[in-house]
């Protein structure tokens, strides 16, 4: 096995995903399968190959630092699950 249930629990924590016991077992098995498959890439010698993170020869794009038009607060808050006084409202952060 390339991955254990403990790894899956750790990764789920990082990804902020709560998983059921059944899901943990299923993902352990499936991620193991996928990781075994992608091991195929190790057949290739890539020591001298440069990585591609982006296909276009783009450089950083700069623009003038001026104030533009933003979305209206009211309109944005229409989608908020909870709001108060023009802000998003969330449950308490510290117990």
């Amino acid at each position: 096995m390339k991955i254990s249930k403990k790894d899956v629990e750790y990764v789920a924590k990082l990804a902020k995903l709560k998983l059921s016991e059944k899901e943990k077992e299923k993902f352990t098995k499936q991620l193991d399968q996928i990781l075994k498959y992608v091991d195929k890439l190790n057949e290739l010698d890539t020591e001298k190959v440069k990585p591609t993170s982006h296909v276009l020869p783009l450089k950083n794009v700069f623009r003038e630092d001026k104030v533009g038009k933003s979305l209206e607060v009211e309109k944005v808050l229409e989608n908020a699950p909870e709001k108060a006084r023009g802000f998003f409202k969330v449950p308490k952060i510290i117990d």
Partner: protein, 486 residues
């Protein structure tokens, strides 16, 4: 022939001559939707009233002899991962079930400026993750050619709506084949432009270095017309290219004399359907007869593309989907504290495939060697293409190794679910453009698609070859006999 069965360029002529109004066309589209949508399920949201209002306002402009754009008044369906101001944009996910976008995506702005008529949002695999549209949180879309088969994915709703004449034009998005593969399986035309050709601003991100928006249409001319509207630089998308946009309709020349076509040996593999192989080889034979120069070429890293894609797409997805935390918009699960809220929201809001990719991507990110290796092999895949495009104008391959499979057939095997994408993912890794056009049917009556690939920003070559093939065959004119009989 009914209005909803026409292409956009046919409708354009009728509207221009004053023979039909946009309202009549829009009504005929909704009549069709009322008749067949229960069997197909292409849409997750319909916007009939807004559409009719918009159509009447276009008609008013025409009556007043105002200048209108070539596609004015033509009804279009939009994949549900593109934001339209005030309209539900769900990505077919529970986590965005009630999300009404407060702004327009750049493509939508461009379509609005050209007076196209929005008829609704189409079903897709949740967050575009899948090849069958079965991963939608809301409904299963059926292939108009066989209601028990999948339409392909992830833009399955957009492809099905075009194949069943429920819309005149549609937009899809393509991260690993999500425009081309459903177009192939539904017997329509789907074009994935070069990465950077069309702005991604307002397209809900799945994997940012691979995603690209493109047209799904009934024929190649419609594809060129829609490309004219959606292409171009956008300062709101830092990866969009400031590169001149040609008039794509000028490449619609039915002549392939002297065009150098490469046929990559690696795209005819074991396990592919024999009828698909034969249709594609016949198509290549026809193009050769029409004067193209055909040559076998090699893309030696093709067999590594899928594993590379699998790692890169999951890693990018895990970051792109970190937005969904239940704070500012979308679904929120009730919880006692903030951290629990994040976890519960994401547990209940995301479906199985989305969770699997987030898990894989997060794992890969924390084991950096995997990711680096994938990025390096991505370079090799791209270099394969660079090399063949030194001597070829374009490549021809099958779009998908098999025709549409049955609903439910592959749901439980995550690796097998990637198989339909083997011929489409390399183009996304390399950022090159590709089209899928109909090139025949299996004995059971399922459509087969042909893929044409070219170097970056060579959409014109693709359109010319696709148009020449289409004009000399006519597969694109066949329509499924849905609905009246089934």
């Amino acid at each position: 022939m009914k209005l909803n069965e026409l292409t956009a360029h046919e409708i354009r002529e009728l509207i221009r001559k004053g023979e039909v109004s946009s309202e009549e066309v829009t009504k005929s589209v909704f009549e069709r939707i009322e008749k067949v949508e229960k069997k197909i399920n292409s849409f997750v949201t319909l916007t009939k009233e807004e559409a009719l209002r918009e159509a009447r306002s276009v008609d008013e402009k025409i009556r007043k002899k105002k200048k209108i754009s070539p596609l004015a008044g033509v009804p279009i369906a939009i994949k549900d991962n593109m934001c339209i101001d005030g309209v539900l944009t769900t990505c077919s996910s529970k986590i965005l079930e009630n999300f009404r976008s407060p702004y327009d995506a750049t493509v939508i702005k461009r379509l609005k400026a050209n007076d196209l008529v929005f008829i609704g949002k189409t079903n897709m695999d949740e967050f575009a993750m899948g090849s069958s549209t079965e991963n939608s949180a809301f409904e299963i879309t059926h292939n108009p050619w066989d209601l028990e088969a999948i339409p392909g994915g992830s833009s399955g709703g957009s492809a099905a709506t075009i194949a069943s004449d429920e819309a005149i034009l549609a937009l899809g998005s393509d991260t690993g084949g999500s425009i081309r593969q459903p177009a192939s399986l539904c017997g329509v035309v789907g074009l994935k432009p070069t990465y950077g050709r069309v702005s991604r601003y307002g397209l809900i991100a799945f994997a940012s270095s691979l995603d690209q928006i493109g047209p799904i249409t009934k024929d190649v001319r419609d594809s060129a017309l829609l490309m004219n509207v959606i292409s171009g630089y956008d300062e709101r998308d830092s990866t969009s290219c400031n590169y001149p946009v040609p008039d794509y309709t000028e490449s619609l020349i039915s002549d392939v004399k002297g065009v150098k076509i490469g046929v990559p040996k690696e795209y005819f593999v074991k396990g592919m359907d024999e009828e698909v192989e034969k249709s594609v080889k016949d198509a290549i034979g026809l193009l050769e007869k029409l004067g193209a120069k055909v040559e076998e070429v090699f893309l030696p890293h093709t067999e590594y593309a899928l594993a590379t894609y699998c790692l890169i797409v999951s890693t990018e997805a895990s970051t792109d989907l970190a937005y969904y935390d239940g704070v500012g918009y979308g679904y929120r699960a009730q919880s006692r504290n903030l951290d629990e809220m994040y976890q519960n929201t994401r547990e209940k809001g995301f479906g199985d495939e989305v969770k699997r990719r987030i898990m894989l991507g997060t794992y890969v990110f924390s084991h950096y060697d995997y990711y680096l290796k994938a990025q390096k092999v991505r370079t090799l895949v791209k270099e394969d293409f660079d090399k063949v495009f030194e001597k070829c104008d374009c490549l021809i391959t099958p779009t998908s190794p098999t025709p549409a499979f049955k609903i439910g057939e592959k749901m439980d095997d995550p690796l097998r679910m990637y198989f339909p994408d083997i011929f489409t993912v390399p183009a996304n890794l390399a950022g090159i453009p590709g089209i899928s056009i109909p090139c025949g049917f299996t004995k059971k009556g399922l459509p087969v698609g042909l893929q044409i690939l070219a170097k970056p920003f060579a959409e014109e070559t693709i359109l010319r070859v696709a148009y020449s093939y289409e004009q000399n065959t006519g597969w694109h004119r066949r329509r499924p006999a849905i609905c009246d009989s089934q």
